[in-house]
Symmetry: D2
């Protein structure tokens, strides 16, 4: 299959969408990113890669960091992790507190904000410097040495993060947060502020497409079974309250972020990262979702065949 | 792979589970089924099949009929179907009315009861005898001539079906039911009362594993794209409010019923049906889920690799 | 106090409000009533009465019938009534099913639709002809011989009453409806369709202001304690999801209906009925609420002093 | 009426209830109070007073402080207060976040925790030392010079106050908190920790029964209209999610606290305070509610006649 040509065709076809949707502005720093960026990168387990547009431009990975934080916590705790966070789609907006109240402080899954706070808490319990541990992990699996936080974004989010603070205190009130609320929030805002490009993110995610093994180093991050399970959670919970629709249209495990990035996985074959800053009502990149739907249709890559 | 041996091993290993859970008794007729039945059938696209236990014993397919009703409606309406029913996991019990109120009468997906009532309504709009149309469809795709309703079960459910009646009237109050409420309910209870064995159900479901084509007749029921999409909905919504957990453990598109049956799909390869009457708190067969988890672990069949 | 003058002043002052709000049109027959009607009647326990505007024009009492149905049921069952229906404000719209699901089929109070259906069910259990029993009761307490149903309104509501049907079936599914769903609904729609004028309704309600005794006949309908309790429920639950606001502004026990009528009680002294067909977002008459607020301010009649 | 005798009779009759219910222990300091305390005080506008039992023993007023904080805010902001907090019963537990999410950060009323936090925020905006302002206000209206905080209780609650912190951050995220979250919480915990006896609390509340005027000083705290309105909110919202039931049984405006105290108002006549530490499932004192129901039955004091 001529992936270079397919990427060019997608780039051309999604152009009209780049002015649809809105750049996330609840974090003021994010609102400064120009709306018309678009980049897409494919990285195969065998080393090949293809990219198009702004695929080398770093952007704020935001909730995509939940994928990596969850992987670290799953490594550390194994199946015990699921005592503290569920594996079910939420049926509610990513920042809703309703379900948390109904479920007595057990978040529905690790990819809603509440779940990511619990995941972050497990890392705060384990590491002396949890933010650096995530950064080191990302550098290791991506093979990129200078992955970094954007302190301005982290501070901007902290300054407007009252809903996340509400969630953290709420979870703590149910006894499902072990460490200090402020420390968990600071770590959470930091790992959300990490900046990476499409190429770097696709590379970092490749172990999820490769049975848990980082191709360039041969290191096993997760067992094959755990990797399948991580993919299952990505498919059912990775794109907020639109996961069903995304599975219907794209058919691939994925994690999106309000920075406009989406990582998608073709199990056994490749990792994809697409980026475009304007978001739909669910918080997913408008052009990003369309690009992946197009990709799936053109290549027939889908877990459902 | 020695599937016959694998089925025997599963049969042996799940034996202790046959006394766990409870037979559904909100429909009195269903409560009469002995708890200790267990059957499992594998049917491959290439014609091979394997089975174990009570795989030839007919049972009440209940909500598994939603898969076939939805297929018929998807055939008839194409993508227009999704104007009237969503494609998102519900985050609530299968018979909850809360989400229906929030979403103004648009059910979250075709596999919760509310969604199946809307699907049934589309069939009632189209067919003079919608129940017979479903029966004919099942006979055609299974190649089994004597698939039938169980009138005692349909009447038993109608007599205790006030929650479904509540839903149908509620949906009607939002304008999302075109035909008569009583006719929709009667048709719904009838297609839920259909009785088939594991072997017959796996055979009837094989087109979902075969890109939309019935292998024994070569007839295309759905396009390959529509078939992938149907599999996506099965994976995210097919096992009630435990779909995330099921995807995590089993990793296959599936539809369960309170009669204790579960149909699962290995896209491109085979259809599986397992049956055991006792249910967990979510309404899924205890031994059935365990058998499929075991099957997935032993065979590595999963959409996530 | 010069009540005649006060009524004239209220009539003049509320004139600009008669074009605000909307006539209820979910029951098509109700939508035909001209918007600009306004009537108000005061009837004192000692026999005096005053009225203004269209106070002698019959209108559809709608939910005000819940006051009389509840009185009859309270007479019949005494405190046992509260096993089947609560006495708490709902915190939700009058026709919401959410709370009913949370509370397992026990309606929050007898003045939301769900509660009135349970109340109606108790009357259906007790009387061979429950609708006629309510009619007879109203004729007796009002002293008006020709109080009647409006069959066109009852049929109009039945034809558009799917939400009430949904509630009745839902309550039945929880086991909190003894008699036939259709019979309960028919009786409910009939007593809602009763037509009375402000003067007649104020007269019929006078026992609630008179320690439970009908002044013109001397007959005790409820004990003084039960009458105080009925007034308490009217104050906390009588004006749908605006009961707190109504208590704040008006300070009197009251029951409103979507026909635009409101009955209010000054315990120990008088009954008031005001009518104007256009409704606010909560289903209460815009001019009716304003007239009662004005009345309370001008006369200092309030239970809170 | 022989109020002294009535109080003795109540004291005797409620004795069996003193071992029912549970002392609040989510604030560890509160859990140390012996369960068997009981005190009751009546203070009349004309200066008479009666009391029984432990009516002179100071206890933690907890949520009863919401009555005084709300009065201060109502004084300061007048009707503008209701732009930021509603006047409707909540239909949910006192510490629920669900309704706050539905209503976009506007608490249902000033007597649920969320509403009291907004009220406290208005005081924090206005006063350099808001806690002292509340203390001064209580000293002034009670005529008691040494009303004080209990720092151990305030710190105990702060240390276990994650749910209140969650609410405050949640409200802040909707823009309905002007001042610093931590300052609001600290002030809130402090005014909840105030200790007063039944006699002192009844005296402090007497202006609510006296058209807004403090009898001993003649100072007008609120206008007569504002006082009626405050009584309305007390009746519909003052006893958590049991306000309807309390109005039904007792028929008086009231505010309860988890310290076991309840203040009740007979408008135009007297203020009552009852105290007993063990609570029912709604957070109201078991013996306190029973004593007030008994009092209302014996004296026929009720706003509903």
């Amino acid at each position: 299959m001529d992936y270079a040509h397919i990427l060019q065709r997608i780039h051309r076809d999604i152009a009209p969408l780049l002015t649809q949707g809105r750049v996330a502005d609840y974090i003021p720093e994010l609102g400064k990113v120009p709306a018309t960026h678009f980049g897409m990168a494919l990285v195969f387990a065998d080393g090949r890669s293809h990219c198009v547009g702004d695929a080398a431009v770093p952007f704020s990975i935001q909730s995509i960091s939940k994928l990596f934080a969850c992987t670290l916590a799953f490594q550390l705790l194994g199946e015990d992790l699921w005592q503290r966070v569920g594996r079910e789609p939420s049926g509610n907006a990513f920042n809703s507190l309703v379900q948390l109240e109904i479920d007595h402080g057990i978040p529905r899954n690790p990819f809603v904000n509440a779940g990511a706070l619990v995941v972050t808490d497990t890392l705060c319990s384990h590491y002396a410097h949890p933010s650096l541990a995530i950064l080191d992990f990302l550098r290791e699996i991506s093979g990129v040495g200078d992955v970094n936080f954007n302190s301005a974004v982290a501070e901007s989010e902290a300054g407007h993060g009252h809903r996340n603070a509400a969630m953290a205190h709420f979870i703590k009130s149910f006894g499902n947060l072990s460490t200090d609320v402020d420390a968990v929030l600071q770590t959470y805002f930091q790992h959300c502020s990490i900046e990476m490009s499409c190429v770097e993110l696709a590379r970092a995610s490749l172990f999820v497409a490769n049975h848990g093994v980082v191709p360039h180093s041969g290191k096993a991050i997760l067992t094959p079974l755990a990797t399948r399970r991580l993919n299952a959670i990505l498919l059912t919970c990775g794109t907020y309250n639109a996961a069903g629709d995304f599975a219907f249209k794209v058919g691939l495990p994925a994690k999106s972020g309000v920075g406009g990035g989406i990582v998608a996985i073709v199990p056994g074959q490749l990792a994809i990262c697409v980026w475009s800053p304007t978001l739909d009502e669910y918080g997913n990149s408008v052009a990003g979702v369309a690009a992946l739907e197009h990709f799936s249709a053109l290549t027939a890559h889908s877990v459902f065949q």
